[in-house]
Point group: C2
Chain length 261, copies 2
């Protein structure tokens, strides 16, 4: 892949958290190929809900699965964050011009970003100083329809390729499910203050021992119109600027006044 | 555990990401027992580097391992985030008054928070509206000395039990390694803008196939004196106020001016 470095087309590293076989990544690859040289590093297994996990207890394996003009494809046994690290360090041996992740089968709006492997890959690239965008479709079906998204995904990607992104900033883009009326447009917005209310489906196995399946329902009390959840519900693409500095600056002074010593 | 709810001592849920057998959690349990009724839910296996992973593909198993006056202990096969969910939903069947996580064997200062299972448990509790604190010792050894920490861990915990924490706020506390000179005090500070520079140790297995071990070196160019890394290097306990709203508010306007439609 070192030959790619010397030419003028941008190098775009693609990953996801649904596995190499998901429709979402295949559609994203198709949309990205006109925009640059594409390197794909994705997981053998679905990695939804893996958050920012990295693989440190087992060795990583990487297998090349395609090599065409301006296109290379690899599969590995790691998490989405591992995919970014392997893509940069082992495959490219340099930083790409852009990392794109997705298109996730399911929304990563609001607090979903915290659990999302798709967005963890994006945040990992951001920590490395590489502009990065996560794309997610508000449709959990593995048969989801992605045919209404090309113009939006490509337009946002082109803007990032043209303008770059400031240090420490990446984008969380969520796309509305296909509906009869077309998408209304793009909204730059904030993460809604919603959350999952968990429950467990507790059962007994054939030997009588109890086990628990994690369940949950998404609950949104944040009804403001400047959120990603509002945008999706109103058939807009949501673009949230995301940072990985988790410091709650507004509470520094309050805590200093606690006098904890 | 429902009996606990009716009495006046606070209920403290403890978890970690190094496994139930780690010295760090045993020390934390010892420090917390004088402060309330303690319920421990920890992992069978070390879960370092698991970030905010949750278990959705396999069922969760939970086993009670101790029951004493004002003390219950459980072990499960899940991640630190699963431990918080199981503790709240299956064990307590209500929210605890406080979640504490750790004491982690190794620093979670700066960008380590993003990869940390210890802090993921804390952020999970925060999303659930429960005050939460992560404690980490700046010493990676499994034989680390925790004997210099009681006063600091208990003082910070007491302050949180007294004052509560505002919605959406949790604490990332890092503690200096034991040194001849005692700890100088507590600093409320921000997350340092440092990062891991990764590399891979690539090898061949006995069958000739290549595999890769993830390696990395921590690199800190952020030399300001208001950071958690500075505090630890100067023998202070660092307390960083942490939020899970990742919206980079200062860039909302910039992105709106891009006119992506």
């Amino acid at each position: 892949m070192t030959t790619m470095q010397t030419e003028s087309k941008p190098i775009i590293l693609i990953t996801n958290d649904d596995g190499y076989f998901a429709s979402g990544i295949k559609q994203l690859i198709r949309m990205m190929r006109p925009l640059g040289k594409v390197v794909v590093v994705s997981s053998e297994q679905p990695m939804s809900g893996m958050g920012h996990a990295i693989t440190i207890k087992t060795p990583l394996r990487l297998k090349q699965t395609a090599s065409e003009f301006d296109y290379e494809e690899y599969v590995c046994n790691g998490t989405p964050v591992d995919c970014v690290k392997l893509g940069e360090q082992v495959v490219l041996k340099h930083k790409p011009d852009l990392v794109v992740s997705g298109i996730n089968h399911g929304s990563n709006a609001s607090v979903n970003i915290i659990y999302s492997g798709t967005m963890a890959a994006v945040i990992e690239a951001c920590i490395d100083g590489v502009p990065a965008i996560g794309f997610s479709l508000d449709d959990y079906s593995s048969q989801a329809d992605f045919s209404h998204l090309d113009a939006f995904v490509q337009s946002i990607t082109r803007k990032v390729l043209e303008n770059g992104l400031p240090e420490g900033l990446c984008l969380n883009v969520n796309l509305p499910k296909k509906q009869e009326q077309g998408i209304k447009g793009i909204r730059v917005c904030r993460q809604a203050h919603a959350r999952w209310v968990e429950s467990f489906d507790s059962r007994r196995d054939p030997r009588g021992a109890e086990y628990h399946w994690l369940m949950g329902e998404f609950e949104n009390d944040d009804k403001a119109e400047d959120t990603d959840v509002w945008a999706l519900e109103n058939n807009f693409v949501s673009v949230v600027p995301v940072q990985y500095d988790l410091t709650a600056y507004k509470y520094l002074q309050m805590l200093r006044e606690w006098d904890m010593t």
